[in-house]
Symmetry: C2
């Protein structure tokens, strides 16, 4: 994405001033001529600076007036508190709540703010269909035969190639394909842990990961997590003697959208490796960054093969395809054995089709567009929350991904809000879903993977009205 | 399949005489005229009797001579012994052996007698492709969205409809779709058992099921199993106080191809239900019967919802599609929860495509043809074994399914035979794979899902020569 070009460097500088508040919404930017003088650059470069900032929705052009800092972007509401899960709490699953909320999956009559997946309207459906048809032609026996156990080689090749972008340096042989990332994580947990083991995770955390750990008989240790910088490393360091495994979502962890710094990633990898604690890294949101550059992963700093890096196309391309993978480092043989035992092989056609799509370069174009759309959506959501939600509503500041974490005042119970909202055909994800403890009752997750529209806006308004009422 | 027509009844009578040896290979059958007189039927009916028997490969027409009992069919070698697994043996997984054999999966340079799946040459590839393309058009958002948790409704409907054939009387709401049958069994085991539980299974048994149980921390109790009538019920009855779960393949259990009688099925269902022991029934081979009628399942006799019936299209249509399902009876909610946790949903497009194929009636035509081919292949294999294998080689007499169990004399170690055969590009499945105990070292499984040819015949000849050598 041309991160080394001069125009991009200058744009980043201005973006940083907007983010830190040096430049405020509505502020006029220097003229093109002025920019040329300031940076000793040509007209074309100066124009590209503005185009770049515009494409990031950070500035707006006003005819015959020049460029202004957008009024919507980087509108920031106060941050929710850093979570303080108890290290002593017994795991207490919010079973019924989760069943209730997930039962809505695929219901056309609802506005599903609850599901963290991109809407089909944001996906390259026609092109994917072509790749499916192509795959049925290309594959031996039309894809009806069992695949090699490690999975489709084309898919593994292209995932390995793409890992360069985040410093992964993977080889196709380092990867095993799976039925979506959750299946990858499931295999990792089964391979590395046993009932009674303790696993450290972020808090709040994706309910599916919590449920998975519980269903395998693990004890989950939820750790304090900052809404923007992610896991509290000091807490992890303290927990190390008590844990057998660690499962993290360092990039745009749902529901917070937090992003761990590279320094922290490196520190965690070293810490866990020293103590022989395997790190399962769920990186399904990694490609949905709002900044300029694909963030690194913990796997980027893994010299010992102790990080099991899991990802998929479920959040970027096709949730319903169930195509994922894992780079399990030194645990590869264990994973392969479990894959054979639990699923024999993956659906060949779909894997081949995704490999075709990823390889063609269409994926990069699609991702660029998707990231822009999601960032724009996020900004619209924040604006709507500011406009319609109760005063003192706090929100996380996702730096990528698909969801925003909303914290109401203490007396708002989002389980009640759920029941109320569903009557108005709106589905939300109450905060209690994202923990095994008695936390987050006044929080909820909103997904902004739906295409922005006046209807979505009015649904958010309605939701805000309901939140004020309870 | 017209099982109630007069011609069919008469054909069954003659078939039974052939099977029991009243009529022997090469015997001349009565003439058409004679048959008319004997049964007081018309010429057309009599002719249909012979056509029917011919279509079952039981008789051959010889020009101007009449009909004769086929020389190949129902050639029967002596039966292997009833297994005698120990009830005290510690579970001892044949890990390395299994890894070695499964590593060959998909290797084009080998003759894979080891893989129990139909070759692509026996599958309706072109029609399946069309159904895939159709599915990408029909599905909401081209199949990229998450499905409803229970799985594709069209697939569930058609599986429910087809259950009438074996007395299942299922409703679409009774079914949950999965990634192949092994995933269905995996969910059942996770839902119903916990580490340390004891599970009763047939012996010999499909290695994948043994591995699955072991990987979940179960203790496997292998039970004596007859090569044609299946599980020894007296042994199960005796084991009941010690077991928590039971996992059976009553129809054409691989590697034996045995088939449990309806009486035994009913008896087992009642016995286990009385003791509150859930029965997981793996019925992946049920549609591949060699007789006239789809055999019943244990599920056919399940009035309490205690049988979890699992099946798939992996052995009949497309192994690589990973489309399976389970009718979990009263355990449905538990299963649904686990499906959500471990895989979220199944690959939508493939399920829709399979539903389309099954619904069209093409499936019945395909199955009829496939059954005929497999039965024919099986007969050719027996003939080749009789011709080329060491004297005293015994074989099971599969009544359906894809594989035959071969027992050599005591001093033959099939692990040695494997190593020898693989050098000649032949892969077999040594008997030790099918047990957790020290059994079956002189046995092996041969799959007859490859299209019969002179090359296959010569590979069997070569295998026989190698077996004689060691």
């Amino acid at each position: 994405m041309g991160k080394d070009f001069l125009y991009n460097k200058i744009a980043n500088g201005i973006a940083s001033q907007i983010r830190t508040g040096v430049l405020k919404p509505g502020d006029k930017l220097p003229s093109v001529r002025r920019l040329c003088e300031e940076h000793a650059i040509g007209m074309n470069t100066a124009k590209r600076v503005f185009l770049e900032l515009e494409s990031r929705s950070m500035i707006d052009a006003r005819p015959q007036s020049g460029y202004f800092v957008s009024s919507t972007p980087y509108l920031q509401l106060p941050l929710p508190a850093v979570s303080k899960p108890s290290s002593m709490a017994k795991n207490n699953e919010p079973d019924e709540l989760i069943s209730k909320v997930y039962a809505n999956m695929g219901d056309d009559h609802l506005t599903l703010f609850s599901i963290s997946a991109p809407s089909g309207d944001l996906l390259p459906l026609a092109k994917l269909k072509k790749d499916i048809v192509h795959a049925t032609r290309e594959l031996k026996e039309g894809g009806t035969a069992y695949e090699p156990l490690q999975g489709n080689v084309n898919l593994r090749q292209v995932v390995a190639m793409r890992s360069l972008a985040w410093g992964g340096h993977l080889h196709e042989d380092d990867l095993i394909t799976t039925n979506g990332a959750i299946n990858a994580v499931s295999l990792c947990l089964m391979a590395l842990g046993k009932p009674g083991d303790t696993i450290a995770m972020e808090s709040p955390c994706f309910p599916g990961l919590l449920q998975l750990a519980i269903s395998l008989g693990f004890k989950v240790l939820e750790l304090p997590t900052h809404p923007t910088t992610g896991l509290d490393i000091a807490a992890l360091r303290k927990a190390v003697p008590k844990i057998n495994l660690c499962l993290l979502v360092p990039n745009f962890n749902t529901p917070l959208g937090s992003r761990m710094s590279d320094e922290h990633k490196k520190e965690i990898v070293t810490l866990l490796s020293q103590h022989g604690i395997p790190l399962i890294e769920d990186d399904i949101y990694g490609d949905l960054y709002f900044g300029n550059q694909r963030p690194k992963c913990c796997k980027s700093f893994d010299t010992e093969g102790n990080v099991l890096w899991c990802s998929s196309v479920s959040k970027t391309l096709a949730p319903g395809y169930r195509v994922g993978w894992v780079a399990p480092g030194k645990y590869k043989e264990k994973l392969l054995k479990l894959k054979l035992i639990h699923s024999i092989s993956s659906a060949a056609i779909i894997q081949e089709a995704v490999a075709g799509f990823l390889r063609s370069g269409r994926y990069e174009n699609h991702l660029r567009q998707l990231r822009r759309t999601l960032q724009h959506n996020y900004q619209q959501y924040v604006q709507a929350i500011a406009d319609y939600f109760p005063k003192n509503t706090k929100t996380s500041r996702p730096q990528g991904g698909l969801a925003i974490w909303v914290e109401f005042s203490k007396d708002t119970d989002t389980r009640e809000l759920y029941d109320l909202a569903i009557k108005h055909h709106i589905s939300i994800a109450p905060g209690r879903m994202f923990t095994l403890q008695n936390q987050f009752r006044n929080c909820m997750r909103l997904c902004y993977g739906l295409p922005w529209s006046e209807e979505i806006k009015s649904k958010l308004k309605q939701l805000g009205t309901l939140a004020k009422r309870i």
